[in-house]
């Protein structure tokens, strides 16, 4: 069931009404039932995978918690000396590690088999029988949102292993954490510690929260239906036909895809967070005006924040402080690479994170190379940090507003250029970039190819208005919540603005006509 469908709106409306009718202590049970229904909508078999993940993780986390409790009891009762305590704790840690690894291997194993077997088979087939050409594919039932709920659940298991919080004892409450329907398909990836307070608290009917939630849903519909889906077919035409759409169209494809991706994914998040807000549940934000970032690292701290946070917490820090990285760093130090020895752990962990980020986004070499390209750009940027800082010290005027705008535009363009690795084959990226610089001319906009993209003059006007509106809302957000500001306006102003937005979604939204409004780009991950 797509988030931008009438079925979903009806489903959500019924769920919300029931949510505030049932006794408050049963609200979370209702959410669990509704989440199961939502997920099983595509076939009951789909529910099996998240349930396997939920039950196995719940059980293993409880065992880890038990080991912790036993260790505490032993230390309190037996009062061992420092050495004995250390040895005992090491033994317990080993046992906990085995339990955690069992959960990680099982659940990431399921994800890997379902999502990457065909990619692996394809590569093996090319490697061992290149003349054959035929690649045998296995048709798996790929559950929706498997990458999201697996990462969220494994974050919980690692947190329990680290002793960050105690494991959840109630299996059904834990199942709701894994399957909570608004966020299950596209995130945000939540931390158990924060989400449990929201999910299991009793929520009274709050008109303001519901109004704010509905406004946010409407804003999400606007981004998705008016901007992202309007751009979709034109962007697809440009990006799949580099031979036809070269020159200036390389730039248009690049910018179009970037804007489409942003409007699509951030719009999806607006709907998810807005729906949750109607239940009184606050989910973490996934976007914080990424196009206001001054460098690529900052961009990624503002784009898909819960995923990058997950990678930082559970891969980047553990790998960079691992025994392997320590050994490599020491070895580099002994070889006289003093500066390199400090940076090697960072760079090893960074490349691994971006390799995994690429793989997470899709089972193809395009995504892997896109991930690695991001990692390499960040490493190069880190190498130049000292130079940037001395440049700004020497020329303090470069810290002004104009330079700030330049930095933001440069970062946005860099992100867009790197996205080319997602839709062009590796070599084609460089060919098309060269082609853009060598042959790109504004006059090509009038050679007939633009008209062939299927966008009318009205479409361009709607897109321009829509993008300006997104930009203005982004600027307003810098000084606080736009909805709070709107709520402070007189009733007439407030509801005229909302009515106009609603009319724009109704009139200018793309419903069908060759567009696939049923699928968000990030759902496929």
């Amino acid at each position: 069931m797509s988030l931008v469908s009438y079925e979903f709106l009806a489903f959500f409306a019924v769920a919300a009404v029931l949510y505030y009718i049932v006794p408050k202590r049963f609200q979370w049970i209702l959410l669990l039932a509704v989440s199961f229904l939502f997920y099983a909508g595509g076939g009951v078999v789909y529910l099996l995978y998240p349930l396997i993940t939920a039950v196995s993780t719940w059980f293993l986390a409880l065992r880890i918690g038990k080991a912790d409790s036993a260790a505490q009891a032993y230390i309190q009762e037996q009062k061992p000396d420092k050495e004995q305590k250390k040895a005992y704790q090491a033994r317990i840690r080993k046992r906990k590690m085995r339990l955690m690894m069992a959960g990680i291997l099982l659940n990431f194993g399921i994800l890997a088999v379902l999502k990457y077997t065909n990619f692996l088979l394809g590569n093996l087939s090319v490697l061992f029988s290149p003349e054959d050409g035929a690649v045998r594919q296995i048709s798996w039932v790929l559950p929706l949102g498997i990458s999201y709920y697996t990462f969220q659940t494994m974050g919980y298991l690692i947190d329990v292993f680290r002793g960050r919080y105690k494991p959840e004892r109630n299996l059904f409450r834990f199942m709701l954490f894994v399957t909570y329907f608004p966020q299950m398909i596209s995130g945000p990836i939540s931390c158990f510690d924060q989400l449990r307070k929201e999910l299991f608290e009793e929520h009274s009917f709050d008109g303001t929260k519901i109004t704010f939630g509905l406004w946010r849903i409407l804003w999400g519909f606007f981004k998705k239906l008016v901007i992202a889906d309007r751009l979709a077919s034109a962007v697809a035409m440009i990006t799949v036909s580099p031979d036809t759409y070269d020159g200036i169209y390389v730039l248009i494809g690049m910018l179009g895809y970037t804007l489409q991706l942003y409007a699509d994914f951030s719009g999806c998040m607006d709907i998810v967070i807005g729906v949750s807000q109607c239940f009184g549940i606050r989910l973490p934000e996934n976007f914080q005006r990424p196009f206001g970032a001054k460098n690529l690292s900052e961009f990624w701290r503002r784009w898909h924040m819960t995923l990058t946070g997950w990678f930082r917490e559970y891969i980047f820090f553990p790998v960079s402080t691992s025994r392997f990285c320590k050994t490599v760093s020491r070895l580099a130090g002994k070889l006289g690479m003093k500066k390199g020895s400090k940076k090697l752990p960072v760079y090893i962990a960074n490349l691994l994170v971006w390799l995994v980020t690429g793989i997470w986004h899709g089972a193809s070499w395009n995504f892997i190379l896109w991930g690695l390209a991001n990692g390499i750009v960040m490493m190069v940027s880190q190498e130049f940090t000292g130079l940037y800082r001395s440049f700004h010290r020497r020329f303090p005027k470069t810290d002004g507003k104009a330079y700030g705008v330049f930095e933001k535009v440069r970062t946005g363009l860099l992100f867009a250029v790197l996205l080319m690795f997602q839709y062009y084959p590796f070599g084609t990226v460089f060919v098309m970039l060269g082609n853009l610089f060598m042959t790109g001319r504004p006059s090509q906009l009038f050679d007939g190819r633009l008209a062939g993209l299927g966008l009318t003059a009205a479409d361009f006007i709607v897109l321009a208005v829509g993008l300006i509106l997104v930009l203005l809302i982004g600027i307003l957000q810098e000084t606080g919540s736009v909805r709070l500001k709107l709520a402070e306006k007189p009733l007439v102003v407030r509801y005229t603005a909302i009515f106009l937005l609603f009319v724009m979604v109704l009139v200018a939204g793309c419903y069908g006509h060759g567009y696939d409004a049923s699928q968000f780009i990030y759902n496929q991950f």
């Binding site: 680290r162 960050r164 690292s297 900052e298 701290r301 930082r312 980047f316 820090f317 553990p318 960079s320 402080t321 320590k326 760093s329 130090g333 020895s341 400090k342 940076k343 752990p345 960072v346 962990a349 960074n350 960040m378 880190q382 800082r389 010290r393």
Partner: protein, 76 residues
């Protein structure tokens, strides 16, 4: 403390580490720089900072970092 300040100044000399208490919250120290700091703490103070200890509370100020180093030295 002087050794720590030397490490921090080596990583980013444009910060007043004696007064700043939001090094991580205000993104003055990036995750790259945090790891470089952890690597140098290991070399200079001979303590290993576990990944779960890399949280803002432990790295928001030079004083907080010194307290973390002290705790880790006691544990080891």
């Amino acid at each position: 403390m002087d050794e720590l300040l030397e490490i921090l100044n080596d990583i980013n000399p444009d910060v007043d580490y004696e007064t700043n208490e939001h090094l991580v919250d205000d993104e003055i120290l990036t995750s790259f720089e945090l790891v470089m700091l952890v690597t140098q703490i290991r070399d200079v103070f001979d303590v290993s900072v576990p990944s779960e200890a890399i949280v803002p509370e432990n790295f928001n100020s030079a004083q907080a970092i010194m307290r973390l180093i002290g705790r880790l030295q006691e544990d080891e």
